[in-house]
Amino acid sequence: MKGILRDINAMVGVQGSFVTDGKGEVVSLVNESDFPEGSLKIVSQEIIQTVRSLRFAHLSPDEFDLSFGKGRVIARLVGPGMLVILCSRDINIPLLNLTAEVAAKRIERLLESAKESKSEPLELKVEYIKGLTIKGGQIWVDKELVRGWGLEGREGSHKASVRKGGKVRLYRIVGKKGLGRVVRMLSHDAKKLSAKEGDIVQVYA
């Protein structure tokens, strides 16, 4: 995303640009003019809070253009957040608008693909294939295994497959923060796999 922001900042008159999430947190920033981070956070939160409030009033602003004595701020909706461009007052606005339009679309695509990749199966390497124990119809793993899979602290649901003998079953890994057991298998799935308590299975995630 920084590459896209750098492209924006390459334009004469642009002093910095950043992307905020829907909570007003700065998620990516290229700060050519060294604006204090605290100031950018204030700007980010002010804009997002305003967007939220206006939505509450049944208005959905997707673009702001604010002119000041010594500068200009352009903000465009990208996904749940905003692309914010800080620039000089005398910037070529039609050119900036075109640049911002292209950049906003690129950022949206990037956010969209990031969102999709979160729901895609984890591509863990062969060395991460581990033996697991089934207890009471659920597959249990310990913290070390979770860490080995790179799932530690990663919340969400991920696709995985379990193989026992020649049978393979698809199921989901549920990642939760701070939990030692992150893999759960419903008892009927365990039954289909003919898995019994104490069996060792292999997981391919």
Partner: protein
Amino acid sequence: MFDKITRALSQLEEVEGVVLSSPEGMVLGQSGKGDPGEAAALTVFVAQMATRVGEALKFGRFEKGTFNGQGKRMLIYGEADHSLGLLVKPEASLSLIENRVEAELGGKERR
């Protein structure tokens, strides 16, 4: 005086409504379409946000701003003692309207 300004601006073909409000959101003058109370609140709300943004960036005083969305476009002018909000047609040429606003507000009104 305020009503005269808002009436003159609402005569512009691409302007649908005009409201002049105090910093507290009181309607000082209005003309054209829309609920003046709501338009005044919106104008002041955005002007206040812009003022805080300008202060944070040390960009100086907020002068004017636009926001677009849901087929609506609003042009907002910030002054020390009042804010001016114009609801304009989405396809409107802002530069023409801005010139007219500048002329109506006059040099002595603007700091």
